[in-house]
């Protein structure tokens, strides 16, 4: 089944939402819950959520079976799924870093403990099996999801202005333009790593790394990019066409980086992508040269991403449409400080361009 068919079935199948009076139980995924999760996704997000899996029961079953998603659900005795949360593998190359999200509660159950119970159950998985660390992306058109970070014991380290198209939230919340997200991380099982700090962001990274309780050896990155022809750049691009976002992981930097990025940008511009994000491995000694090359092409700072590659990561980003920084709603003082850092570097990139 594809997204179109799944949405057609959800649209055409009559369903009455529980009124909020029926008791629920919280537990981990079983295949019988898959249809209920798809129904919940449809009820909360309408047809605009950009990830197909959550509308398609078969995919939910497959991905939970192989550990790519670890769903937690609250169900009534009659089988309706009234709340859901999940740890899942998303963009990071590190398979042991899971994202926590897809936190959805039926409107009739929002005055209940259900969301807290679902999140508490999901957090019991952190530090077990393959789940060494987690992160969350809280949308910034309201502050509700950012409050999750207290339940997750997460620390805000990155901000992604204008990440998501507003129509992902037409049912949940009205919003104009594109919506920012703030990223929070929690590392439950850590090991000592070397971090090569790009010189332009020493102070910024010191702030972003604070409070994470990581065991790190800090070095300033001084190495140049490897010269051609031995090492040409390799960029792994994940395209989220419906969101207009390209997430680019720089797996092998070479001194053709500027040319490769320019070619990629040109291609993505023709397809009307709004945002290009580049993920840089701070475990590589030439991360500073990578940052210099990207800054020269108009990229600006997004934040610090602990254990993103196994090694830590750095997010740089370039917007084709100016973010509306004034509309970004943030909950914590730390996130507000992060916004000023990200906005300041975006302004630097604009003035250089």
């Amino acid at each position: 089944m594809d997204r179109i068919e799944a949405l057609r079935q959800l649209r055409e199948t009559p369903w009455t939402s529980p009124d909020g009076s029926e008791k629920y139980t919280v537990g981990y995924f079983d295949p019988a819950a898959a249809g209920g999760i798809a129904r919940l996704s449809y009820t909360v997000y309408g047809e605009g959520y950009p990830v197909d899996t959550y509308y398609i029961p078969e995919r939910l079953i497959e991905e939970n079976a192989r550990g790519a998603i670890r769903s937690v659900v609250a169900r009534t005795a009659s089988g309706d799924v009234v709340a859901h949360g999940a740890l899942y593998r998303s963009s990071p190359p590190n398979p042991n870093l899971y994202e926590y999200g897809l936190a959805m509660t039926l409107p009739s159950y929002r005055a209940s403990m259900v969301f807290a119970r679902v999140t508490q159950a999901a957090m019991k998985l952190v530090g077990t099996d393959t789940i060494d660390a987690i992160f969350s992306e809280g949308v910034c058109n309201h502050i509700i999801t950012q409050k999750f970070s207290a339940l997750l014991k997460g620390v805000e380290t990155a901000l992604e202005p204008a990440l998501m198209p507003a129509d992902a939230y037409t049912t949940e919340r009205s919003s104009e333009g594109r919506v920012a997200c703030v990223m929070s991380f929690r590392v439950a099982r850590d090991q000592r790593r070397v971090v090569f700090l790009p010189r332009p962001y020493l102070a910024e990274l010191e702030f972003m790394m604070s409070g994470l309780d990581l065991d790190r050896e800090l070095r300033v990155s001084e190495n140049a990019l490897p010269a051609l022809p031995e090492a040409s750049s390799v960029i792994d691009v994940r395209r989220f066409a419906s969101a207009g976002v390209a997430r680019c992981t720089l797996t092998t930097p070479g001194d053709d980086l500027a040319t490769r990025v320019a070619e990629l940008e040109s291609e993505l511009a023709k397809q009307d992508y709004a945002l290009i994000q580049v993920f840089i491995n701070l475990g590589q000694a030439n991360s500073g040269a990578v940052v210099d090359a990207l800054r020269a092409q108009g990229y600006s700072l997004g934040g610090f991403l602990p254990t993103w590659f196994g090694d830590d990561g750095l997010l740089l980003q370039k917007h084709r449409v100016s973010p509306d920084f004034e509309s970004i709603k943030l909950y914590s003082d730390r996130a507000k400080a992060l916004l000023e850092i990200v906005r300041g570097d975006w302004q630097r990139a604009q003035s250089n361009g």
């Binding site: 008791k23 629920y24 929002r110 005055a111 209940s112 403990m113 807290a116 509700i144």
Partner: protein, 78 residues
């Protein structure tokens, strides 16, 4: 704590709810219809349990819709 509507609103402020939102809350109307969301609500219940020395089960929480409900719940158990 002596449980009054004022004391419950003070507790809401202590859990981080917006002061303007709290000041506008009508004790007789469901909290969820007045801007209290699915994260605020359980946070308030946890604070209520601690402040009043009562236990709120998940089943209880489904019946506690308004501040008046919380007031009556506390009165019946303290």
């Amino acid at each position: 704590m002596t449980v009054t509507i004022f004391a419950l609103k003070e507790l809401m402020l202590a859990t981080g709810l917006d002061a303007e939102l709290v000041s506008r809350i009508d004790p007789a109307r469901p909290l969820i219809q007045q801007g209290v969301d699915s994260v605020d609500y359980p946070g308030f219940i946890l604070a209520f349990e601690e402040a009043c020395g009562v236990k709120v089960s998940d089943a209880d929480s489904l019946r506690l819709k308004t501040l008046d409900d919380f007031l009556n719940f506390a009165a019946a158990r303290t």
